[in-house]
Amino acid sequence: MNRKIAIAGYRMKAASDLVTTRERLTFELTRGLFDDLGIDRDHVGTTIFATNDFLDGRTISNVFLDPPAGVYMRDESKVEMDGLSALVYACMRILSGQYETALLVAFGLCGSQVSPYLHVEYTLNPTYDRQLGLLNELSAAGLQARSFLNKFGYSEDLLDEIAARNLRNAALNRDQARGIKDASAKDIKDSSYLYEPLRELHTYPATDGGCAVLLASETKAKELTDKPVWILGMGQSIESYYLGERNLYESRSTREASGRAYAMAGIDKPEAEVDFAEVSSLFAQQEPILTEALGLYGPGDAEKAYAGDNGIAGSLPVNPSGGPLGAHPICATGLFRLNEAIKQLRGEAGKNQVKKAEIGVVHGQDGVCAQQNTVVVLGI
């Protein structure tokens, strides 16, 4: 990159019901972030939203979100995708040399105001997939889970272990919407099947949540904070929309995206150089699929990894925050991973803190079964 870019600060909020409006949430997140940093909206060069018109119930929904974000008489643009895609766009705006700071605002109110599954239903091809009447977000995830378990010969117990680990970690983290203290694999198995092998507690919770993040050029970041977190690399990749045209047990696009991000960050051996990962695994099986695609664990290593290596105290922790099984505010989830990584890198993750946190990798996804993937490498 021709300029260094850092994250200067963030604000995040999640619950099953935040009892708020989109405008108030936008206002409180941005006003709170500016107060944290001791700045005003005059310090913001440009703003990028990551929200979804369908979820917001209005076309070009940023028209009513700009003013509460402090964008009055300024410029703003929107990415109708996961917030990590918006981060890549915001970085480009700073790299252009035109701006010294870029504000990201992302949220989804799928806990209280719109069904999280509905937008995926309307993502489906109207003339084929919808007519067939067999696919929705959960049945697609069930197909993916079965494909993964079968490929490596795992039993459904692995999904229970993954979900239990995440819900235990989420219970330690006050920024999560759902957690289960001391959750065991049995607790997970006691939840009902939705689409076999997927059970209720293998899936993300309907979540209200959002965040605001301020990116800054090197000079500006050092003015704003003593603890800048640097963006070392970024990569994105998209595969076929049709599930039938992918190998569901792997994520080739995440592998492509991470290859680009690692090359930019100068990382040759991710399994040795990366200290931890925060990935947008919306369903239990996606966590090992994604960490394998990120080059952190080998294919078929999942059982060994979940025996301890990828836990909070392990050698290469994955989702020490509890991940999206604790909160999935659609559009903000990738930036939630980013914020959790910032906590780790700054040593502010409390009971979720990993031992060594100098290089972290974060991941965001869009589309059914992670069709589009973004990978960002962070460092201090």
């Binding site: 084929y128 197909l143 039938g244 569901l248």
Partner: protein, 147 residues
């Protein structure tokens, strides 16, 4: 913050009109009238798409070579649903596999009948159960049954 109000309103997405390219779905549907599965093959890389596409994902060229694929195939993955896609409970669990038909590269989703959920496995051979009266619609391929 005094209160949050919920306003009930409708948003009828079904009023959209979708225009589709003929080579893919239309050819698949017309083939179904004759109890055949018709895919489209890329002239460059040889990938066979079903339902067909007018372009190749990988080569990014226009394609239109119709090719018949087998109506027998292998279960690549499956799920057992306890509710329909809108979340309404089903009386009996429904097995929905993705099947890779012989001579085809894509996996096709459908319902599987004639086998208990606990007896389904990845790798099992299945075939299409065609409707007696076929009209050239997706319903012609009623469901899959064990080979």
């Amino acid at each position: 913050m005094e209160e949050t109000r919920i306003v009930n309103a409708t948003w009828d997405v079904s009023t959209f009109k979708y225009r589709i390219e003929g080579q893919g779905l239309t050819r698949m549907l017309s083939g179904m009238r004759d109890a055949k599965l018709i895919g489209i093959k890329c002239s460059k890389c040889g990938t066979v798409y079903l339902p067909g596409s007018f372009y190749c994902r990988k080569c990014h060229i226009e394609i239109d070579e119709a090719i018949e694929v087998g109506d027998h195939g292998e279960v690549m993955t499956y799920t057992v649903g306890y509710a329909d896609v809108r979340g309404n409970p089903l009386e009996e669990p429904r097995v929905s596999p993705m099947v890779k038909f012989d001579g085809c590269d894509a996996w096709v989703m459908g319902a599987l009948e004639g086998v208990k959920p606990e007896d389904v496995h990845v790798g099992m051979r299945v075939k299409v159960a065609w409707a007696e009266e076929r009209t050239g619609s997706l319903q012609d391929m009623q469901y899959f049954i064990p080979e």
